[in-house]
Point group: C2
Chain length 273, copies 2
């Protein structure tokens, strides 16, 4: 899915919601847990229920890998189940030397039909470049994350590349030069107005994947007000808040209800575009 | 494997070689490539041939994931094949928010019997902590990597935490406080004497996993001279230089020959301890 298609789909669907399939098998409703293909069955029901209300699905690879190769197979079946009208993100946080990153890119862009993958920036340009070489695929680089640990390194002041700049700002600046707003996004866990304004001054055009709305606790209104650009430029993720909204036989209905609420709220912010 | 056992094994085996199983299926010898279980058969032969000459095996997850769930299964069979006398490292470069890192830790330390995993530091303490909570397991955090991209961020000067310090030095300092030399190692791709001396002044006791000897081109002598501590404190990796030393039916013999050369050289450096 290229940028034109992405923006068009957002306008059409009136949503920039990303549903995070962090499918923790211990939190799947009881009636499904003993199913031989529990993870996929759960995901299938969630996808069917939320499809009209979201723009994207984000598969968190950790929750599949922890089920061994069967989990990996469930991930494969899940990503193939998601229709092409929705952006398919592998939340994998990969990144290694060039020849190894090339293998990860092959994994998620060729072996599996993902549109996008999250990548960690610590190892620099040659660790990110192999992902960017794919046409109509997206590399989503960690900028500022939403967890407490983001203060340990991302918020450090960096010298030598402009006064008072923080590491994550240097990451945004530098990485932005390696790709384009057509193949590169950033993970931005910021919800504060001043941070988002600062970030938008560095990368005005890029899409931002925003975690931390819902269980991780950011405000959708703030993010939308300060993070949106003329093409929307946002994918806002909610995982547990949607997929584990209920834990009975009506779990998919409960998920649908929450996704629909996000959709309603997002549609109002999109009106302002 | 705890630190006492690791040091004891190094003394006994007279080697600190780590063999990197970067098993690229396109580089496997022709006669094996059509085998239904080619990756595992290749690894098995390499392990059998190199076992007396190395201390550790490092499985680079990217090369397995790129074969889909079957590759994941081959990784599982490979790690189970390595005997407990050798440290089993998952070179996975994972790292995410706490609940997700906990899933990765479960994957590599419980579902799979790895002793150690490589982890990226960008997301900070709560992304690393879940790995450190396992007893007799090792978390190997990226410090200074050996690729060109290490200059992009790792070598940036950081202010506010001491004058003239580089990001990777701050990473070493800070991360060292979260664990102990008994559960924490660092990836250090340095081969220059001055860098290694500086690194040893920050983390004198930790084991360093050193990539970049062999195909990536560092000098084993330099690394050993400036990186060793009283417990050896080094695991030096070679991947392609060993496993793809030959590409005929005698590939395992060729691998053995190179591993044996490393062993001979390492034994001389260990004499000096």
């Amino acid at each position: 899915m290229n940028r034109t298609q992405l923006v068009e789909q957002i306008r059409q669907k009136q949503t920039y919601l990303c549903v995070g399939l962090d499918t923790d098998i211990t939190r799947i409703p009881d009636h499904l847990r003993t199913h031989p293909d529990a993870v996929f069955e759960f995901n299938k029901a969630i996808i069917d229920a939320t499809l009209p209300y979201c723009m994207s699905y984000k598969i968190n690879t950790a929750f599949y890998e922890s089920q061994g190769w069967k989990g990996w197979e469930a991930m494969e079946r899940t990503v193939r189940y998601i229709p092409d009208t929705h952006l398919k993100i592998a939340d994998a946080k990969r990144g290694d030397i060039g020849n190894t990153s090339a293998q990860y890119a092959k994994t998620f862009f060729e072996v599996l039909p993902f549109d996008a993958i999250t990548v960690a920036p610590y190892m620099g340009e040659d660790s990110i470049r192999p992902f960017l070489e794919y046409t109509n695929k997206w590399t989503i680089v960690l900028g500022l994350t939403s967890n407490a640990g983001s203060h340990d390194f991302q918020q450090l002041q960096v010298s030598g590349s402009g006064a008072g700049k923080r590491l994550y700002e240097t990451v945004l600046e530098k990485v932005a030069r390696w790709g384009t707003p057509g193949n590169l996004m950033f993970v931005i866990g910021a919800t504060r107005a001043d941070e988002l304004a600062e970030i938008r001054s560095i990368i005005p055009d890029h899409f931002l994947l925003v975690p931390g709305v819902g269980a991780q606790g950011g405000s959708l209104e703030e993010v939308s007000r300060y993070g949106m650009n003329k093409d929307c430029g946002l994918l806002v993720n909610a995982s547990r808040a949607i997929i584990f909204a209920g834990n009975g036989e009506d779990f998919a209905e409960a998920a649908k209800k929450v996704a629909k609420e996000y959709h309603t709220e997002m549609a109002t912010y999109l009106q302002a575009l």
